[in-house]
């Protein structure tokens, strides 16, 4: 697209130019608005399903979910469709008891940022599991964090207990070299994929340090 073609002999008035462009713009605006309107429901449904699947993966016992916004000023319940505004999702079992909270976290991986969703049970102080929401880690290496059974075994119950004052973790979550895990708050790295394993650990450590004190403060409010 370089330059417009040579001007024809009878050039139309600029009014007509503007009018044509405006007409086309209005038409396309209408078309786009229509498309957005028609697809809103299915897209929301897809988002809900994707989220539900992720939440139920990290909170295996959960059968129902509720969206919340958690920040310094407290816990705000949100509607079922407010997925993008929420930052934590509570999961409940069939009898309506809270089985855990799913939270998003992210950290620097090998190639780019790794985004995960992890489940946390405030009663047992355990991180119950995680699922990768977004990553571009090396195929066959970094992406093993989701499939490697030894690595996933770290998350049977990864300890995240608050200190007495309730302001910080008692023991910081840390990723250690493959085969040297000694404590329940350590993550045994995948050998050869140290960077991605560490990224998962860092994401969990950062996010729990920030959010656990808040969660424990408002825990009763999660109840259905």
């Amino acid at each position: 697209m370089t330059e417009t073609a040579p001007v024809p002999t009878a050039s139309p008035s600029s009014l007509r130019l503007i009018a044509t462009l405006a007409g086309i713009a209005i038409m396309s605006g209408l078309l786009v608005a229509l498309a957005a309107e028609f697809t809103r429901e299915p897209i929301l449904k897809n988002r809900r399903e994707a989220l539900e699947k992720a939440v139920f993966t990290v909170l295996p016992e959960a059968t129902a979910r509720k969206n919340f916004l958690l920040n310094e000023s407290g816990l705000t319940p949100l509607g079922d469709d407010a997925i993008s505004e929420a930052n934590c999702y509570a999961g409940y079992n069939e009898s309506g008891e809270l089985v855990g909270v799913a939270i998003e976290a992210s950290a620097r991986g090998y190639q780019d940022v790794v985004k995960i969703l992890y489940g946390y049970n405030p009663h047992t102080n355990c991180i119950l599991g995680f699922t990768v929401l977004q990553s571009s880690e090396t195929p066959g290496l970094g992406d093993r964090v989701e499939t490697d059974p030894d690595f996933l075994a770290n998350f049977a119950c990864l300890e995240a207990t608050l200190n007495e004052a309730g302001t910080d973790l008692k023991n910081q979550i840390v990723t250690v070299k493959n085969g040297t895990k000694k404590h329940p708050w350590q993550i045994d790295a995948i050998s050869g994929a140290t960077v991605t394993s560490t990224a998962i650990g860092t994401a969990l450590q950062k996010s729990t340090t920030k959010l656990l004190p808040l969660i424990h403060k408002v825990e009763p409010e999660f109840a259905q």
Binding site: G140, L141, G192, T194, V195
Partner: protein
């Protein structure tokens, strides 16, 4: 690998070459580089056993054969007699892990020669070091085998192959855990000194690094021996010592500064220079005349750039070793460096060099 682009291409000679050795025929220089590499090969076979011998033979044979076949397909006389494909094969083998599956080594050799060299018209026109292109391709394609290390001086190294070496083509490498259990010397961690330093901040013993009794790529251990072999080439005036010197000095200086700031995380200069593939790269790969700048000042800039990049990737990158990428990037930068440092022509416009 030294000056090589001058064999069949009079155009290249037009460039201001600062090198005295243009008087020596290419194949003589190349043959001497092979001689200089032989002690390194012998040492690595002694260190890691017949698996490495297999690796060296496989890589060399596939490189030479690839070049020969491509020349035949082009209906042109073969160029394997200039020894350059041999050097590429040997160097590639020396940069691969000792237990690397042979079929993958063949793939890396073919890629290095075919895409890295013949695609551009063969010797003298390749823009980057073919051996390193082969290795970078293998690193990106077969990441896990490329970062699986075995201990040196395993007891059975002269009688049996490391199981992963003999993996069938197109299959994942055979498991070496059983072999490791039988052969692992006290507390072998499955990592190179560089990786141990990077991820656990435990430096290896410098004497071990100098002598080469550590884990690592086949031929990169034994910094002292590599340096000696390089000295032979320098002594015969077949290698540009400025490149080697500037890379090593820059790397040492840079890591020395970092070490002074935080000795906990950053290793000392001796470790930086002797560990990993830096010595092998600085002596035998960065000095490849085809991929380095042609101006005297450019040579120094090129060396400094490689030294800096190596240390940057090692200290702050996701990989524990960065020499290979640093040299490839150095090769990529070298036409630019040449053009910026080109002596001004008489009557040339004021703003000659862009960027």
């Amino acid at each position: 690998m030294t000056n090589s682009g001058t064999q069949s291409s009079p155009q290249v000679l037009l460039r201001t070459s600062p090198h005295l050795r243009d008087t020596q025929p290419v194949d003589v220089i190349m043959r001497n580089v092979v001689y200089a590499l032989l002690p390194v090969c012998a040492f690595s076979v002694w260190q890691f056993g017949i698996s490495v011998l297999g690796l060296i033979i496989t890589c060399t044979a596939s490189c030479v054969l690839t070049e020969h076949v491509i020349r035949k397909l082009q209906h042109k006389p073969t160029t394997i007699t200039d020894w350059s494909a041999t050097i590429t094969g040997v160097l590639l083998a020396l940069t691969l892990p000792p237990g690397f599956p042979l079929w993958m080594a063949v793939v890396a050799s073919i890629f290095g020669i075919a895409v890295g060299k013949m695609f551009f018209g063969g010797l003298g026109f390749n823009v980057m070091n073919p051996a390193l292109i082969g290795r970078a391709f293998a690193q990106a394609a077969f990441t896990v085998p490329m970062t699986t290390w075995v201990p040196n001086s395993a007891p059975s190294r002269f009688t049996e192959f490391i199981p992963s070496t003999l993996t069938l083509p197109f299959l994942r490498p055979n498991s070496i855990s059983e072999w490791l259990a039988q052969n692992a010397v006290d507390g072998f961690s499955g990592a190179t000194p560089l990786a141990v330093m990077k991820f656990e901040h435990v430096p290896a013993d410098s004497i071990e690094l100098l002598l080469g009794t550590t884990a690592g790529s086949s031929g990169e251990t034994g910094a002292l021996l590599i340096l000696l072999c390089g000295c032979y080439l320098i002594f015969r005036n077949m290698m540009n010592w400025r490149i080697t010197a500037s890379i090593l000095l820059t790397a040492a200086l840079f890591s020395g500064i970092c070490h002074a700031i935080n000795p906990e995380i950053y290793p000392d200069p001796l470790f930086t220079v002797c560990s990993g593939g830096l010595m092998l790269g600085a002596v035998f790969m960065a000095t490849d005349m085809v991929g380095s700048p042609v101006t005297p000042v450019g040579i120094w800039i090129y060396g400094i750039l490689i030294g800096l990049l190596t240390v940057i990737i090692r200290f702050w990158g996701g990989l524990s070793e960065g020499v290979m990428y640093a040299i490839l990037l150095g090769n990529a930068f070298s036409p630019l460096i040449s053009s910026v440092t080109q002596p001004k022509r008489y009557g040339a416009p004021q703003k000659e060099a862009a960027k």
